[in-house]
């Protein structure tokens, strides 16, 4: 009995918070647009009983998905979002890992303060932090004024409203999500392992590559997922810092939903986005598990 309960809880959780919302979105994606409240048809009529459900199911079709395939805007936007998310994740790792490493190697008394400094930006609203980047990066902004003042440039650099600004915004916003999990694994690392490696003839650098880095792998993976997944669907950062030519799927989805009022196509875009994210993650997890089993 207790065993069933323990197994049921996570499944119920998954059902209520993931599967049911997903099915609702999928249902809208299979519907057609209509001028009504809500703006799609058919809607499910439970009062008509089984006949109502049958009539409802017969009206669903995959038209919206075939439509997505017919216009190159959508796959270009998916690809562009994937590229921006991959590059940003790599940059965050490049910047975040040394910071987490330095934190884990700092004197124990400093660590709570350093940890606090990483979390501190969260005390300000995310939106305000992105807005302040507009103030820093704009052509009359602090960065350009500073560069002009030290004489490095003659004319202001065009950073705002470009993809570069989007990268800066994403890396800044998601950096703590990389630092925290990496720091958590590095901090638990047993220092004696490194001593042993050096005793056995490793240089400090090769000890890092052969011992520290592989052991922090779980933190790196967690950090990468935490950065990559929200970035791919990011809407706020590209719309505030990006230009009219920054193509991201979050913006395309907004336009389908708000400008075209086409909830079914917007839902289809969202379903595909979810599949793009979930399939690689599930494959990855399965691969990890297999590896663990073969090792164990």
């Amino acid at each position: 009995m207790r065993r069933i309960f323990v197994i049921a809880v996570p499944y119920l959780w998954l059902l209520a918070l993931f599967l049911v919302p997903f099915l609702i979105v999928l249902k809208i994606a299979l519907s057609d647009m209509a001028l009504a409240i809500p703006p799609y048809a058919p809607t499910l009529d439970f009062q008509a009983g089984w006949a109502g459900i049958k009539a409802f199911v017969s009206e669903l079709d995959f038209e919206n998905f075939t439509f997505l395939a017919s216009d190159d805007l959508y796959w270009k936007a998916y690809l562009s979002s994937l590229r921006i998310a991959l590059v940003s994740t790599f940059l965050t790792l490049l910047i975040g890992y040394p910071m987490a490493y330095a934190m884990a190697r700092s004197p124990e008394a400093w660590r709570p303060t350093l940890l606090m400094l990483v979390i501190l930006p969260f005390w300000t609203s995310f939106l305000i932090r992105v807005y302040s980047w507009m103030g820093i990066l704009s052509s009359e902004g602090y960065l350009n004024q500073f560069l002009l003042w030290i004489g490095l440039i003659d004319t202001p650099l065009a950073i705002i409203n470009t993809n570069l600004a989007v990268y800066i915004g994403v890396v800044y916003t998601y950096l703590p999500f990389m630092i925290l999990p990496v720091y958590a694994t590095l901090e638990k690392l047993d220092g004696q392992l490194l001593e042993a490696a050096e005793d056995l003839g490793c240089s400090r650098l090769s000890a890092f590559w052969l011992v520290t880095f592989p052991l922090s792998r779980s933190g790196i993976i967690a950090g990468c997922f935490l950065v990559f997944i929200p970035t791919i669907g990011e809407f706020v950062i590209p719309s505030l810092l990006g230009g009219s030519d920054t193509l991201m799927i979050g913006k395309v989805l907004w336009e389908e939903f708000f400008s075209n009022r086409d909830w079914p196509v917007a839902s289809a875009v969202a379903v595909i986005l979810l599949l793009i994210l979930i399939i690689p993650i599930v494959l990855f997890q399965r691969n990890e598990q297999k590896q663990r089993e073969s090792e164990g």
Binding site: M33, L35, A36, I37, P38, P39, D71, D72, L73, K76, A77, E140, N161, G243, S244, D245, T246, L247, V252, E255, F257, F258, S259, N260, R261, D262
Partner: protein, 361 residues
Amino acid sequence: MTQRVLTLTVAAGLAASAAFADEVRVYNWSDYIDEDLLAKFEEETGLELIYDVFDSNEVLETKMLAGGSGYDVVVPTGTFLQRQISAGAFQKLDMTKLPNHENMWSMVEERTGKYDPDNAYSINYMWGTTGIGVNVGQVQELLGEDAPIDSLELIFNPENMEKLAECGVHFLDAPAEMIPAALTYLGEDPDSHDPDVIAKVEDVYAGVRPYIQKFHSSEYINALANGDICVAVGWSGDVLQARDRAAEADNGVEIAYNAPSEGGQMWFDQMAIPTDAPNPDGAHQFLNFIMDAQNMAAASNYVYYANGNEASQEFLEEDVIGDPAIYPSEEARENLYTTTPYDPKVQRVVTRLWTKIKSGT
């Protein structure tokens, strides 16, 4: 037990409806009213006013079509209103509760009747035009004394735009206004719904796209006032706000607004009551309050937009009623056009075309 739950539910329901009965929830455009009026309404009626703001018709429409917005009064623009009426989003006004309705201006009601036949569902709040705001000094410096500042030639002729790119040009990010403008430039019907005619606009924009710094629907107010850009295609009242800000800052920037001489778009923001409004009675009181001549005049004097209330005109300040950019003469009004909403298929063509124009994809 069941009995008790039922009683409790009914009691809670009654309490909730009692709370709604002395509250009015209004959802209006940002920076679009003299806030003293809000306090005055609460004082006169004893109702509590909850006033929220939005900045795009799309956001409002999505709320309306999702249903259950909880608002008693909302303010969509004419074309959006028409579509929302067809979707069943609004209730008919009860004219017996709106004695001030006699103040309304027939010139405006004739035009808004195109979106809302007989004006059965809505009253006009403000109206204005979409046109061209220029920094007079900078534009004349680049294009000469006789720069065509009141013509679409200024913004759609690549030769002019190439020179203007130096001082910065912003366009509205609003296809429902920018596509009719380009159609007017081509000599086509601005209200065309024919996808083949609409497609012609792409070439017009291809010629000037490299010289457009940004497509945005509100940043141009500050950018014009600060002198960061010299041309903006924008809404009349917004450009006039930029003009006033520049005058206040005394920074030597002189802004002028003109509706295009080839024909400019005229739009109407309409107040309406959602079908599921919690307090329709309070909503009618709010509409009646707004239609009071002095109240409406106070709002226009504050936001620099013309209103649809004829009786309010005697209370308008001279720099509002006397400004042809706000209240165009009868002759100039002949030159203004209105548009009708696109059906979903054409809307998709328009949105897609606009994305292509902006992003090149």
